[in-house]
Subunit: 139 residues, 2 copies
Amino acid sequence: MGEPRIIELPPRPLPKDLTPNVFAAECPTRRVLDRVADKWAVLILILLADGTKRFNALKRMIGGVSQKMLSQTLKSLERDGLVSRKVIPTVPVTVEYSITPLGRTLHAAVDPLRIWAETHIAAVEAAQARYDAEAGQRG
Amino acid sequence: MGEPRIIELPPRPLPKDLTPNVFAAECPTRRVLDRVADKWAVLILILLADGTKRFNALKRMIGGVSQKMLSQTLKSLERDGLVSRKVIPTVPVTVEYSITPLGRTLHAAVDPLRIWAETHIAAVEAAQARYDAEAGQRG
DNA sequence: CTGGATCCCTTTTGATACTG
DNA sequence: CAGTATCAAAAGGGATCCAG
């Protein structure tokens, strides 16, 4: 073995703050939250938690969704490991979407949102009526 | 009093289906869910649940939000009775935003989303890496 | 035919500047 | 400070086209 030398180390990268912070635009948790706090993602997750469904079944069930957004959102959910996609080589081809175990953990967090909307809709509409009445008075 | 007459009643509107259905584009619950399953709304609600804040404080805390979207989302949350706005006539004027009791019930439903993002970020990034690797192989 | 990619146009969002 | 107005950029919707 040669004699020990003093060598110059390359500058060490500053340690990144590993504390998750959903309020920081660059934080990975924030990017995930952005994609998950999305109306189409929420609706898809709720439907798939109920059982495997095909593309066009989802399209029919989710009022107002375009095929573009459905396809796009499903792809994003698949990439994030929340939904799995299975192509069945029939003629014509059928594609089945299912929720993954990870997706189920997210479903547990988003379904309360649906329930909240259903249980508090009256309170929200009352608030809107009040707000609109006041706005009307002012002009 | 005149003698009783047989009068023609105007056609009665068909009774609307009152069952809430977040999947139907026209259902009030769906419209509310759409506005609430929104990244800015979620972040604002979480911050205000922690305490009253002023407009520019929120702007500084929420990375990447534009004043337009902040102002717009706050107005929508106020209309829905989830947030209250208090103008203090100082010079220059200050405006304080607080969460309402109704907003607190929603916060209970959205905060799990933040927690989910923080606790499952590693699993999501692993899934993304797998997905991107496979996509890379294919093409 | 189903799933989905693409083109084109409308709506939403973002950046910046300006006002009470 | 707390917004609105304006204009540019991006996301979204609808129709259409294509592969399996």
